[in-house]
Symmetry: C3
């Protein structure tokens, strides 16, 4: 249970409460239909906001401070006006209504030969440290495997989804940078280096020794050829087939992937 004033204080000085600052909420909900006792947010600033707000039954609604409403629109509800309502809602929800499992290692997880940090959550289905794939035919056409003795380094605040595969490095390590988030069913091959605060969406295939710079985004089902370098703040579009290096700040899409205006 938390009241509007406490939420506003947590969100910081650019925040304004309109209405009863002692109004309390017990959980979060969607704005429509909403529910008495819940905290919601309104993502619109334009005309659509008024309709949603008037129909919502939520007790406190986080809205944009740019919203153009008459005072009469605010009657009977409590609002917290902020610069970025979605982000503010996310922060408040995570702070006052924690929803994630507490850290811990599920009893069915299989762990061997790993150093585990503090406050780690480990579920199941994702495999970290599988053998990389690096075969070469010998003189008889038999495929010989390159040795894989490297490790996987996962830095702080990384989050990895379900049924993901992150292969160990060959002679070096595979590295997932601080704060990077990886969605479900992603493949990260041997020796890949992913920078900080990247987002890698579902079903992405990242070839061996690829490097991805900080803050980059790789969309659903994109794939990246071995050895490719992706810069910082790059956007790899959904389904992109990346066969050339991508400089900083560039957006690419298509098969093969080409630059597109942001």
């Amino acid at each position: 249970m938390v009241n509007a004033k406490e939420i506003s204080n947590f969100l910081g000085t650019t925040t304004i409460v309109v209405g009863d600052s002692k109004k309390v909420v017990y959980k979060i909900s969607k704005i429509i239909p909403g529910k008495v006792g819940t905290l919601s947010f309104c993502k619109y600033e334009d005309g659509r906001a008024k309709g949603l707000i008037s129909r919502s039954r939520s007790s406190i609604i986080i809205c944009s401070s740019q919203i153009s409403l008459f005072v009469s629109d605010f009657i009977g509800k409590t609002f917290i006006l902020v610069p970025q309502p979605r982000l503010a809602f996310m922060k408040a929800a995570n702070e006052f209504f924690p929803w994630r499992d507490t850290p811990g290692i599920h009893p069915t997880a299989v762990i061997s030969n790993a150093e585990i940090g503090k406050n780690v959550r480990i579920g199941a289905g994702t495999v970290i440290g599988g053998e990389g794939f690096g075969y070469m035919p010998d003189e008889n056409g038999e495929l010989i495997q390159f040795p894989h003795i490297g490790g996987v380094i996962i830095e702080d605040n990384v989050e990895i989804g379900v049924n993901v595969c992150i292969d160990r490095g060959a002679l070096g390590d595979t590295i997932i940078g601080r704060g990077t988030k990886i969605d479900n069913l992603v493949h990260v091959a041997h020796n890949v280096k992913i920078g900080k605060n990247c987002q890698i969406i579902c079903l992405v295939g990242i070839g061996g020794s690829v490097e991805i710079g900080d803050n980059s985004f790789v969309g659903i089902s994109a794939c990246i050829r071995n050895q490719i370098k992706i810069g910082k703040n790059a956007v790899i579009g959904m389904g992109a087939v990346v066969v050339k290096n991508v400089p900083d700040n560039m957006t690419v899409a298509g098969n093969p992937a080409n630059p597109i205006p942001k």
Copy 2:
């Protein structure tokens, strides 16, 4: 063990037995080479049918009632003539030679916080109810996660393959409609609504809040952007990268996906 008459009766009134209606079969097999004591089907109506039938050793063959054969072609075997031989074979096989595991929950399955209906089969490898992926950078560039407190609703007669991921909704639920079938390695993101009797083939990536209408088909490795709406009876081609809404009855393919004539 079942005889031709019993199979024919089960398949209904549009069905005709040609040959010995007391001929019995003990299991199913391919038409070629076929085997004494087995039930097979012939998918062709044209000239290819005659060759297959004459070479098959199966005791009963389900054929199209449109097939053009001389009486002499039928000597020594028993046939069941039906409008749709493949479908009739599927129904008869499922009825008389049940091949699926009996319902039950495998002892290695991990279940918590779920309501399970009747006659459910649960294996392993597929993860239902993982956290959705909905991050947004805060003012320091750290990625903040949107709260995910929604559920997953799987309606009756849904079948889900291996190593599939179906994420829980954010504030609402993710819903898989009655009779829909999902192949292996598919990703279904938070808040997705899939209608009834859809087919979602392997390695498909479905973004957050996507809606797919009844009886639609999504081919191998297709991907669908967040928020997209796919109509009823739509066909999303193999490898399609869907970035625009798809109306009812439309077929799309390509990267990016565009309409193609059915």
Copy 3:
């Protein structure tokens, strides 16, 4: 611990030791920075080789016999000159510094109804023998499943990655040919026949009854339509969407896939 002479003898008659043939190594490493007591290799023959070799601290370096260096470049290190340094390194590493887990079945693996050969390693996450996906709507629009009573045959020296799905055949078997290597998150549908010494890279989707000839290569995230036939020594490019048969020795890429010069 092994010395240069022993490695050279193992690699065969086209091999030459330059430097101290009794120099010993204890493990393998990258050439840069390298480490005293390790075996490395140099993949370049051109000017880049000299810089790497002079900076490396490794005790023995496997190099190309085509390399153009002065005698002075060789001082203080031991070299093994071979026709293919990468392949030679792979063979020597696998022989003298075995890095793979010993054969065995992980206690968490679930095995039922399978015949297991000798010297097999079984981990977890990959599912062999799942039901194929072969539905057809009946007259009411309900999807009926084709019976799947076939098996999966995995021939000798096959290696399969993590979170792979190989479905059982419908009336016949799914077959993975001798020496073929399959990367992570690959889907192999019912009745597929993959030949010998193929490489199937991550996130590939192979539709029902597809046939792939010997020594073929299927790149990251490619997909292949049901019933397609791929010849021998074919190359299916990364992200290719294959909707037509591919003859022997052909390279295809794109969505849809078309031939490209090798």
